[in-house]
């Protein structure tokens, strides 16, 4: 009896506190709080967006936790957040486990570049199979004839190659291994693609800074980092031969070109890998990063805010990209995403119909 009374009192107190907090929040401003969680790779641009968007629409506030793609997928699946974010597309099985249909909305593009440490800083070029075989541990010396073949005139040292990869699970690793899986059958069978994989050789460094730190301190080392990180830190970013057979310098433009190249065969759910796309100017190691939202929104006000924000992000939001060294979406892809955003509904009624 006593227990029940105490419980009753406690519930009362909590209820009162809740009422108070709701009343308080409401009286100060009628702000709508949108909660999101997921990928770390786009976190800088997302926080810039959320900040800028508050100026466009002061009635909405975003709270984004960059807990990683895995956490983002889990939380949107359990509906503990209003939107998720992931660097890798969800698998069919993961989509099936979700309580409703989930949309993948591409937001920005990222690219991954190789980085290496050789005395004299020669400007190297890589063919796709070379990168795969180096990371498989099949090419072990820098003066291997196959490396020399695509780098005529470069003096290559007789030095062992030390492979450095990311030790933490990351979207960067996903893009890198996705690319290697596409260009090498052996890689696909032995290792495969994922945010973490079972590396055949090499050392693990934590984060972009861990990889580049180890590469810098070990002569003969080769690793991979995000394009933005390489540009900011003036790391040598070698050209890679793309699907069209052209050697392409990694850059923001060539990353956007990769998405443009893939635009023709874009599947309607955008769960597409952009690595090794067609196109003469396309840098082959690039990828979308996605926001995950339910097709049918659970809350009318939040749903409306969500679609408005998405619309803004793929149009006006794209101009904040270059400052933060992300690649903007090509216009033909943005057009296709518009159609997707129009399909987002609340109780079956499209939320963007007013436009």
């Amino acid at each position: 009896m006593k227990g029940v009374q105490v419980l009753g009192k406690l519930t009362g107190v909590i209820f009162a506190a809740l009422l108070l907090s709701v009343g308080y929040g409401g009286s100060v401003s009628a702000q709508l709080l949108m909660n999101g969680a997921g990928a770390t790779f786009p976190y800088p641009i997302y926080s810039k967006w959320f900040d800028e968007y508050t100026k466009v629409d002061p009635s909405v506030r975003f709270n984004y936790q960059s807990i990683g793609s895995g956490g983002g997928i889990r939380q949107i699946r359990e509906r503990t957040v209003d939107f998720g974010a992931s660097d890798g597309p969800m698998t069919d099985e993961q989509l099936k486990q979700a309580p409703g249909e989930l949309f993948h909305i591409p937001t920005v593009l990222g690219a991954v570049v190789a980085t290496y440490n050789l005395s004299g800083d020669p400007r190297l070029r890589f063919a796709p199979d070379l990168l795969a075989d180096i990371f498989l541990g099949k090419i072990t010396k820098w003066n291997d004839p196959r490396i020399a073949e695509v780098n005529p005139g470069v003096a290559l040292p007789n030095q062992p190659i030390i492979v450095v990869h990311r030790s933490d699970g990351s979207g960067t690793t996903y893009i890198w291994t996705d690319y290697l899986s596409k260009v090498s059958k052996e890689w696909e069978q032995k290792v495969g693609r994922g945010t973490s994989v079972n590396w055949p050789v090499g050392l693990g460094g934590k984060g972009n800074e861990g990889v580049s730190g180890q590469v810098k301190s070990m002569p003969g080392a080769i690793g991979y980092v995000e394009l933005a990180y390489a540009i900011k830190n003036n790391l040598p970013a070698p050209m890679v031969r793309n699907h069209a057979g052209k050697f392409v310098q990694p850059s923001i433009q060539s990353t956007t070109a990769a998405a443009a190249g893939a635009a023709k065969n874009m599947p309607s759910d955008f769960r597409v890998s952009l690595t090794n796309p067609p196109g003469d100017d396309a840098y082959p190691i690039a990828s979308f990063t996605w926001l995950l939202v339910y097709k049918d929104q659970a809350d009318a006000a939040k749903g409306r805010a969500m679609v408005k924000f998405l619309w803004w992000a793929i149009h006006d939001g794209q101009k904040y990209m270059s400052d933060l060294l992300y690649a903007p979406l090509p216009s033909q892809v943005a057009k296709e995403i518009e159609g997707k955003i129009r399909q987002i509904t609340y109780q079956g009624k499209p939320l963007l119909a007013a436009r």
Binding site: S69, G70, S167, D168, T195, N198, S217
Partner: protein, 328 residues
Amino acid sequence: MVREGGAAEGLSLLHLARSTRKTGRWGDRLFRLLIRAAALALLGIVLGLVIVMIRAALPSIRAFGWSFLFTSKWDPVAEHFGALPLIYGTIVSAVLALLIAVPLGIGAAVYLSEVAPSWIRPPISFLVELLAAVPSVVYGLWGVFVLAPWLRTQVQPALGSTLGFLPLFQGPPYGVGMLAAGIILAIMVVPFIIAVSREVLLAVPNAQREAALALGATRWETTRLAVLRYARSGLTGAVLLGLGRALGETMAVTMVIGNRPEISASLFAPGYTMASMIANEFAEATSDLYLSALIEVGLLLFVVTVVVNALARLLVWSVGGTVKAVRE
């Protein structure tokens, strides 16, 4: 008037005393309840932790069974997980750390409590506490930028050319690897061992020392027979505290160990620890089985910590027992 007032005052004091005695009785009871709750809460937290981890690890336990403990393949893509290299890496790096840190730490503590002139004690003790307060990521950075390059260019080539016939010191010198992890851990653990050991040694009654000296013991004999032996269990506690930190340390180790889930006899080779694996892969673990496997690693870390601590205590007890037996 005055006397009356005094009487009233006396009466009210008596009341006060009675009432405090009453609340005192209640206070005692309340106090006893509170501390009991504190102790039970601790038990509850540990129990809750174990239950939650076991439940979350169940899918992985069902999928892999005992092979989780005895296989070495960690493949998130194929969803095949074996934690043996992680267990190996955790124990080897911690043992390596203690091999370096225990003689250093206890030696320094003996110096501080037995030998050092009194003016030098406060600055050294202060430095020790300062070391203990440095965040582990700072040790990690130092490990990446100073220790690892130094190991790679100086120490490992020298060890390889002199002791290279031992499998312990073979293979290419990367700098990062098991040796770097052991050294970093030793540096992180030493301040704890020094600080606790010093307190333990200072608590040894002076009569112990005086008695030994009076019997004609040298300073070394006094320290060994009268002080260290007396303080044995306290010193064990200091070492176990260090061991606990070494087993669970994550950030600094991740930065210098090379993060390769492989068992190698060489200390130059990269390794992996359980704590590092969890910290590295937890955030991006997308599938349920993968996440469950990582939680099972956490459970294992818990078990390994308990087992290693228990073994260490058993070891000390058994040694203590034989000493007594010999004496008798």
